[in-house]
Symmetry: C3
Subunit: 188 residues, 3 copies
C-alpha cells in the first residue's frame, strides 16, 4: 500500500473509509449470515432486498444492510423535516428530486409514468404481500442492522434527522467488516 | 423476532417465505459452489449470469439459480400457452407486456429501439458465442438447479405450465438455504 | 456434464471459458478477500465498486475485479488509440458509442442530459471525495487485481492496446477461481 489517492493521503483514506484494523475477521473465524449493499432506490429491487433480509432473519441468521447512494432514500422519513444547519442549493435540489422514503420509490421497468408502480402495489395488496414499509418494520423488529452510508449522506447533503430512527451509521469499512464475517454477500 | 409484519403474522411469514428451520446449514459445514438470484430480465445481465453458471458447473461446482421478478421471464416458454384457471385483467396485461422467454429479452443499454439487441445478437453469432437459449440448455444439462420464485409467479400471475420443464419452485427460504451452503453468492 | 451447447462442444466450452481444473480451491482451504464482477458502466455503480475495492485493500484483503460487458469501458484509455488490426463496422460503432474511460461514464439516474453527472462530480470535488480516476489509481497501487474479460473484448472488438496498462486478462474461469477463494463476492 503506497502513494496518495490524489485528494487524500492513504492515511486519510483509512480514516475516510472508516476503517479500524482490529475490526478484521480472522480467516479461521466461521462466517455466518448475510451482508447486503442496497445501492438501488428502485422499488422492485429494494423489495427483493427486504424480502431476502426478512427471510434470512426469520432463519435466525444475522443480517446487515448497508444503504448507499440511491438506496439511502429508502431510509428517509416521509414529508419535510426541519434540518439544523443549512443545505447548499444543490443539496436542497437533491433532497427534493429524490424519493422521500419507501412509499415514494418507483419500479425500474414498465414505469408507464407511475402507472406501473401503482399497478404492482395494488397487486401486492390484493395478494397479501407485505408493503415495503411493513417489510422494513419487520426487519427492524427481527434485529436486522440498518447502516446508512455516511459518505453518501455527506455527498447528497442528507442529515441524520431526515432518516429513520434506530439505524446505525457507517462507512465502507463497516460494510467490509460485516461482509467478511458473513456467508452470503449481495450488492443490490 | 417479535410482532407482526402488518398483513401476515410472523408465523405466516415463515410459511410465506417457504422456510423450514431444519434446512439451515451449520456454521461448521463447508460451503461450496455458487448461488445466484437472477432478478433482472435484461438480455445482457442474464447472459452474464448464464455464462457464470455454465463456467462454475464446468468446474464441477454445484450451482443454484433463483429466478425472481423480471428474471422469471427467462424461464417462460415461447408463444401462447393454454393456462388452466383464469387470469385477472392485470395478470393478463403483465403476461402480454413482459418478454416471453430468452429469445425476447432486450439489452439494458444502447437499445436504439431494438436495434442494439439485434446487433449484439448478430455479433455473438458471428463470434461463435452461444445464444442465451443454448446457455440455458447447457446449464440444465450440467445439472444447474433452476428455481422459479413462487411469490413472483403469484404476483405476476404466471402459472407453472407457462414455464420451462425441469425446473424447481421455491421461495426466498430456498435461496437463502442454497446461498448459505455456497461460497459464491451473487445478485444479478 | 453431457451434450453440446449448440455452437461449441463442451470440450470447447471449457477452453472458451478459460478453465483449468487444477485452479479450483479445495473446500478445506480458507476463503479470504473480495472478488467482484463489474458488469455496469454507470458512473455511480463503478464509483461504489471502486470505493469498496479500495476499502477492502486498505484492510489488507486481497481484491480481484473482473470487468465485463459495459464495465470494460472503465478500463479504456482516453482518446483515440491506434489499433493494429482492423475493426469491423459494428466494432467501430461500439467503440465510438461507448464511453472511453472513467472520465466519460454517466450516472444511472437523474441524468438530465448530462447535467446530473456534472452536478455529482462537482459535489464530489467540493466534498473532497476522490474521482473515479484517482480511485482506480489508488486501487492499482494497493495491489487490487484488475481483470479484463476477454470474451467481452472479443464481442465488442476492444483490443488490448485500448485498455489501461498493468491489468490482467481472463475469462469467466478466472472470476470463478478468484471468487471461490474469496469470502466476499459481489456482482455490480
Amino acid at each position: 500500500m503506497s502513494g496518495a489517492i490524489g485528494l487524500s493521503e492513504v492515511s486519510d483514506l483509512h480514516k475516510d473509509l472508516g476503517i479500524a484494523s482490529e475490526e478484521i475477521a480472522s480467516p479461521e473465524q466461521a462466517a455466518k449470515g448475510l451482508s447486503m449493499v442496497v445501492f438501488s432506490g428502485d422499488l422492485d429491487k429494494v423489495l427483493a432486498a427486504m424480502i431476502i433480509a426478512n427471510g434470512a432473519a426469520a432463519m435466525d441468521l444475522p443480517v446487515s444492510i448497508f444503504f448507499t447512494f440511491w438506496g439511502l432514500n429508502v431510509l428517509r422519513r416521509e414529508g419535510p423535516v426541519h434540518v439544523t444547519g443549512k443545505k447548499t442549493m444543490v443539496e436542497g435540489m437533491f433532497g427534493r428530486m429524490m424519493p422521500r422514503g419507501p412509499d415514494h420509490l418507483q419500479i425500474s421497468k414498465m414505469k408507464m409514468g407511475g402507472l406501473g408502480t401503482r399497478m404492482i402495489k395494488r397487486e401486492m395488496a390484493k395478494k397479501h404481500v407485505a408493503t415495503l414499509t411493513q417489510l422494513i418494520q419487520s426487519a427492524q423488529e427481527q434485529g436486522v442492522r440498518f447502516i446508512a452510508c455516511t459518505m453518501s449522506m455527506d455527498l447528497m447533503g442528507i442529515h441524520k434527522e431526515e432518516l429513520l430512527p434506530g439505524i446505525k451509521y457507517g462507512n465502507v469499512g463497516s460494510f467490509i467488516d460485516a461482509a467478511d464475517r458473513s456467508r452470503i454477500t449481495l450488492f443490490i
